[in-house]
């Protein structure tokens, strides 16, 4: 793989088709869906797959057997439309990062080279909390889905990512720095997707700290020593 990490085509760890399909169908819980959104911002290949799966949804919609609507449903909707201000449909979700200052709190400090993904800007991100030597975390609250359990991890060079229980989908997107596990090296833009079938031991590479966005599906995050430290800050 090319070492030019700034180029999107250099992304070497992607999200599986099964998870992208769940994302496209709207079946992924908010936390993992946020990680997928962040990954998609930098990954044209996964974006193309999601677009294809959405087209499948469009085909299924077009083929769906029509259900009878209430007799006055169209008339009621046209009346609501009449109540709308004339024309000028505002581009509701164009460039949310610039036009919607949704953060009530300032983002925690990030290294200068970290470009905060716009999906993350739409969230409320807590301050960095010290979790142990070389380890900090920050809670990410997704609008409309409080306690959905996405967190940012900031781990020092050479340290392991905190041990956690698998049992469901876990997504870890690298925002800054890099880590390695049995599957290879993960750099900014890469995502690690694991589940109960995967046993891996990610370790931050020696040349600098690593910032990741992490989300798990299911009710369990870090356990053991780290669990006692982290759980108070993550609601499940």
């Amino acid at each position: 793989m090319s070492p030019h990490r700034m180029r999107p085509d250099a992304i070497s760890h992607h999200i599986t088709d099964a998870t992208l399909l769940r994302y496209a169908t709207g079946r992924l819980p908010a936390g993992p869906a946020l990680v997928v959104s962040v990954h998609l911002e930098g990954c044209p290949a996964c974006r193309a797959k999601v677009a294809a799966f959405e087209a499948v949804g469009g085909a299924l919609l077009d083929e769906a057997p029509p259900e009878l609507m209430a007799p006055d449903a169209l008339a009621r909707l046209l009346a609501r439309i009449d109540g709308d201000a004339p024309a000028e449909p505002q581009p509701l979700r164009k460039r949310p990062a610039r036009k919607r200052p949704v953060n009530k709190r300032p983002l925690p400090d990030f290294p200068g080279d970290l470009r905060v993904p716009s999906a993350l800007r739409a969230c409320e991100v807590g301050p960095w909390r010290w979790m142990g030597p070389g380890m900090r975390m920050s809670r990410v609250d997704i609008p409309g889905a409080p306690g959905s359990g996405a967190i940012l991890l900031r781990i020092g060079p050479g340290r392991s990512l905190p041990e956690h229980g698998h049992g469901a989908l876990e997504l870890t997107q690298v925002l800054s720095g890099s880590f390695s596990d049995e599957m290879g090296r993960y750099q900014p833009g890469d995502v690690s997707e694991t589940d109960e079938d995967v046993d891996h031991t990610p370790v931050v590479d020696g040349d600098g700290e690593c910032i990741c966005l992490v989300a798990l599906e299911g009710g369990m995050l870090f356990r053991g020593l780290m669990g006692r430290l982290i759980q108070p800050f993550v609601r499940f």
Partner: protein
Amino acid sequence: MIRTRARRVSGSMNAAETFPLRGRPALCLVAPAGKAVTSVAPDETVPSAPALARFILVIAAQQDRQAFTWLYRHYAPRLKSFFLRSGLAPNVAEELAQETMLQVWRKAALFDPQKAGAGTWIFTIARNLRIDFLRREKIPSVPDDDLPDEPDGAPNSEAVLLTAEREARVRGALQSLSTEQAAIVHLSFFGEKPHVEIARELGIPLGTVKSRVRLALARLRALLDGEA
């Protein structure tokens, strides 16, 4: 009647004609003033994909209620069906179908035929509304579209055609899946807990479902990639 109009449009698949610039609406798709559209039953006719896309462009260009009515007659009953099959109660399904169509009206200017066909675009609106409903807050979903694939530019008729081809290819791919693979794809869209539900509905052990889902998706992807 709609069908003949739609055929005429798709018959002359000149992109510039089929998808004119906004502000130059395709009047051939809009009924003459005073035409009694109510005489057209919801599913007597099924507009073609380009015709449906065109309705949205006309809505965007001139807030055309006639085009909206046609679009509504096609999609509202199908949206209700879609929501019902995904497990929502009938009154909720109808309400979300209404909300989806309202968003279609309000966001018509955001519809980009270079990116998606009408059904796909409306599907994503419906999906996001369902997510919002399930989250019990009317807050926009995490941004997942409007990402620039390329620098913005003038409408690219070639891109529109490529998108139309992809949509057609998807439909073809769906039809060439095996019965079980098609069922897996359907259940992925309509089942609340895909793997568990698929296992139950297909009567296969949960343990084998994941590999079958992988296979079904691999096949679907292979079919979709056929062009590349």
